[in-house]
Amino acid sequence: MTKFGVIIFPGSNCDLDAIYVIENIVKRKVLKIWHKDRSLPDIDCIIIPGGFSFGDYLRPGAIASHSPIMKPIKEFSRNGGLILGICNGFQILTEANILPGVMLRNISTRFISKKVKLKVLNNNTPFTNLFSKNEIIELPIAHKDGNYYAPLEMIDELKTKNRLIFSYCENPNGSVEDIAGILNEEGNVLGMMPHPERAYEGLLGLELGRKIFESIVNYLENR
């Protein structure tokens, strides 16, 4: 059975939702991992949740990317462990150079909280295998700095290697190529701005976010 770990930084605030989805929807074990820990417990997948780690001081994710826990996380990544960074988690992964690119302020300069439609560009990943290719899904976004940017050559590489995973149907924040989520070169780390952990049951109006967690479990338990 897949075991998840959710990393908690001071200022993380989407940790409760991630833990709730894992425990109550995909019904797997989940451990809380404190940012000052210097090693990881025995887990199969790391979730870096959203929020405002260290109050977004300096730049979103910048200070968290130097927390002690980042060293074992990098090692975990090198060994092929699955990592999902959501919102501030995505920002932390780019600041830690685990994923390429940077996150600029939204083009409106304002915080944007709303439902957005996304296209699943690549369903051949540990995180998206239960979607169909080009499936349109709806998830909430809630961020001020989600305007993804990388140099042209990097964007080309992301495209040719199928590392663009989600794109916005209607670009809300100015991000280049409508990018909403990308994969690392090895295919085991996904960063995304939208929040799948808030979209897991009909009552909430949105439920396809759960498929990301179910895809992870499917990949790890049936491969």
Partner: protein, 707 residues
């Protein structure tokens, strides 16, 4: 005593003489500072106390009524809900971003102080004329401040309201409500019970910011006050987030016996109130208070309103574990004193005693009883009302406030079932089969003309909005915003509003569990409209949740409830209110919802049937055909009627007989049906859905962004 000092402290000569009489000597400067803060209107409710007693405050679900940091009601036997609304008007008038941000921070502290995890924020905002530059400046700053603080601290927004009226041009209103959830065993109060228990200060270091905040809020906004921009505190939502987590961890481990945040009048009110409520005394050593500025005097330390600070009374023996938790969250703390048996507050600084006062004197200022008197000339009548349906659609104040609430995180914590944007919000409570409805409303325009009816109507509308969600109105928190209490006209408005609130709440059986009074809301030559703001919570089990917009073509559209009359909030003929009819209608609608008979439900209130229709259409993309009107009505007169006690619902066609049987024929009027693509109103009006959506959704945004 030097009169300059009294002025600086906003303390009257009369009060000073009373102090001398009470303590039998001249007070020290620090002592005088404590009196000025504790006797300020903001802390002491000295002008409003006698009226507030009229409000009903008990009920089956009430666990904690007024008098604590927040009110508490039962959701289940084990799970409670804490909530409160508070104003941050003056700070927001002089420094909109920080004023609003720290308003959010302050009310959130009131909630987690009780042992509750904050799960929702609502905000009621009143501005001056929409077209003025100052309104745009204030609106941008205030919304950005709420967005900045609320999003970062991790508490989702669950809606609110926005009003525009010239009476608020100098003195805008920012009323913020916070709701939190707690386990019964974690309920904590601000009552110190054990002498020798240690007093622990945690959070931000103390600076000169927010100095005299309580007395700043207890005077009008004149030029001198506006220059007090330095009085406005600066908020740090990240630090507050750490405080939430650390405090809840400390409470979960049962390590403290009392706790209070350092809000208005900072260290003074928190220490005096905790000791006073427990019938104890307190000793403070100010040299131990963590400071961020040098050479601060004892007076400044006691009155600072630096944000993100809490005062705990530790259980004896738990101090070490408390400090471990604070270390984990990297929070500053200091043991600054202890609880005593004396009933006195003793304060030491640099080895000297700088204050030694009986706490009861501080907690019981002489009441300020200005006899209410009505001056008819000061009642405002009739503003111009637009009856043009097409042009209303382009009106920014009529349009959707999406521009505002899209800057607030509304989906965090994954509880949001019906999101903000439609009068009331529905959240589910995880781990239970309960849902809660939340709404925050005022109507200063109506209260200015008829404060009694206005206050009653706000209660009626709030409960109607809660009932439209299918849950039952359970309790209320109120924020009463008025002008200078030394003006008899203000006190007349205040007493009428209280009578209105009280009568409506009693009739509908809804208690008040917490609240706040904000006087002195006046600019240089303008008093605000009397503005009681009501935050209402509803609770219920829901096996079926109706939509808040149309769901399919071919449904009947009905009005359920009272008569539609030529009555409007902005006119000489105000909507009448029959509380019994209101109560019955709401009960019937909740019954229809519980039977699964309603496809969609909307409360009809401000903007009448028309606004309810426009919202239903714009959120769904489904249109409507409205049949003919009663002969004596123009279409717009009918659609814009703001008569009370009505709901707009849509149902399956074959359910009409059943619905009529349940509620009674005289309570149902079929007015139309849902169709595709258009809104068609009798023979007079036909618009495409896309145009409605475009205009309703964009008019406000367009106006603010000028694009």
């Amino acid at each position: 005593m030097d009169e300059e000092i009294l002025k600086e402290l906003n303390f009257s000569v009369k009060d000073y003489e009373k102090v001398v009489e009470l303590i039998g000597r001249e007070p020290s400067i620090t002592e005088l500072g404590l009196f000025s803060a504790m006797w300020s209107e903001h802390c002491s409710y000295r002008s409003s106390k006698i009226y507030l007693k009229e409000l009903p405050s008990s009920g089956e679900l009430v666990v904690q009524g007024p008098g604590e940091n927040a009110g508490i009601i039962k959701i289940t036997d084990e799970i409670y809900l804490a909530f409160k609304v508070e104003s941050h008007n003056h700070p927001s008038a002089v420094e909109p971003f920080q004023g609003a941000a720290t308003g959010v921070g302050g009310i959130i502290r009131d909630i987690f102080t009780m042992g509750a995890r904050p799960i929702a924020i609502l905000d009621s905002l009143c501005f001056g004329d929409l077209n003025s530059k100052r309104t745009k400046y204030l609106l941008n700053g205030i919304v950005e401040g709420i967005s900045f603080y609320g999003n970062c601290v991790g508490v989702p927004n669950a809606g609110g309201e926005t009003h525009f009226d010239p009476s608020y041009s100098e003195n805008p209103l920012v009323n913020v409500m916070c709701v939190g959830i707690l386990n019964k065993k974690n309920l904590r109060k601000s009552i110190a019970k054990t002498s020798k228990a240690k007093v622990i200060y945690i959070g931000a270091k103390t600076g000169r910011d927010g100095l005299h905040g309580a007395s700043f809020a207890s005077g009008i906004l004149d030029d001198k006050a506006v220059k007090r921009r330095g009085s406005v505190q600066v908020g740090d939502p990240f630090l507050e987030k750490l405080l939430i987590e650390a405090t809840l961890e400390i409470i979960e481990e049962d390590l403290i016996e009392a706790i209070q945040d350092m809000g208005a009048a900072g260290l003074t009110s928190s220490s005096v109130e905790m000791a006073g409520k427990g019938g104890k005394g307190i000793k403070l050593f100010l040299d131990k208070v963590p400071l961020r500025e040098t050479n601060m005097t004892p007076l400044e330390i006691m009155l600072s309103e630096s944000q993100e600070r809490m005062l705990l009374v530790a259980k004896i023996g738990a101090e070490k574990r408390i400090k471990e938790i604070l270390d984990k969250w990297e929070l500053d703390y200091a043991e600054i004193g202890e609880i005593t048996d004396s009933n006195w507050i003793e304060i030491y600084f640099s080895g000297e005693m700088v204050c030694n006062l009986p706490i009861e004197y501080l907690l019981n200022p002489p009441l300020n009883c200005i006899p209410p008197q009505m001056d008819r000339k000061k009642l405002v009548y009739v503003r111009e009302k637009t009856f043009n349906l097409s042009s209303l659609l382009l009106e920014p104040s009529f349009g959707s406030k999406r521009w505002i609430y899209e800057q607030y995180d509304t989906t965090l914590l994954s509880n949001t079932v019906i999101p903000p944007g439609n009068g009331a919000t529905l959240l589910r409570i995880k781990g239970t089969d309960k849902f809660i409805g939340l709404t925050l409303n005022s109507n200063g325009g109506l209260c200015a003309v008829n404060p009694f009816l206005g206050a009653q109507t706000i209660v009626a509308i709030s409960s109607r909005r809660i009932s439209a969600l299918g849950v039952k109105p359970a309790a209320v928190t109120d924020c009463l915003n008025f002008g200078d209490p030394n003006n008899p006209q203000t006190m007349w408005e205040f007493s009428e509003c209280i009578k209105g609130l009280s009568s409506a709440l009693k009739e509908l059986n809804i208690p008040v569990v917490s609240g706040n009074v904000s006087f002195y809301n006046e600019g240089r030559d303008k008093r605000i409209n009397p503005t009681p703001t009501i935050g209402m919570v509803g609770v219920g089990n829901l096996s079926y949740i109706p939509s808040n917009h149309f769901v399919e073509v071919g449904n009947l559209i009905l009005i359920i409830g009272g008569e539609t009359g030529k009555e409007y909030f902005d006119s000489e003929i105000l909507p009448k209110l029959n509380l019994e009819l209101e109560k019955n209608t709401q009960e019937l609608v909740r019954e229809l919802i519980s039977k699964g008979l309603l496809k969609s439900v909307q409360s009809i209130d401000r903007g009448g049937i028309y606004l309810a229709l426009i919202r239903s259409i714009s959120l769904s993309g489904i249109g409507a055909r409205i049949y003919d009107f009663p002969l004596n009505f123009m279409p717009s007169e009918f659609l814009l009627s703001e008569s009370n006690s009505r709901f707009l619902v849509s149902i399956d066609k074959d359910k009409i007989d059943l619905v009529a049987k349940i509620v009674g024929k005289e309570m149902v009027k079929v007015i139309g049906e849902t169709i595709a693509n258009y809104l068609i109103i009798a023979d007079s009006f036909k618009v495409e859905i896309s145009e409605i959506k475009n205009n309703y959704e964009r008019s406000f945004r367009k106006f603010l962004e000028g694009a």
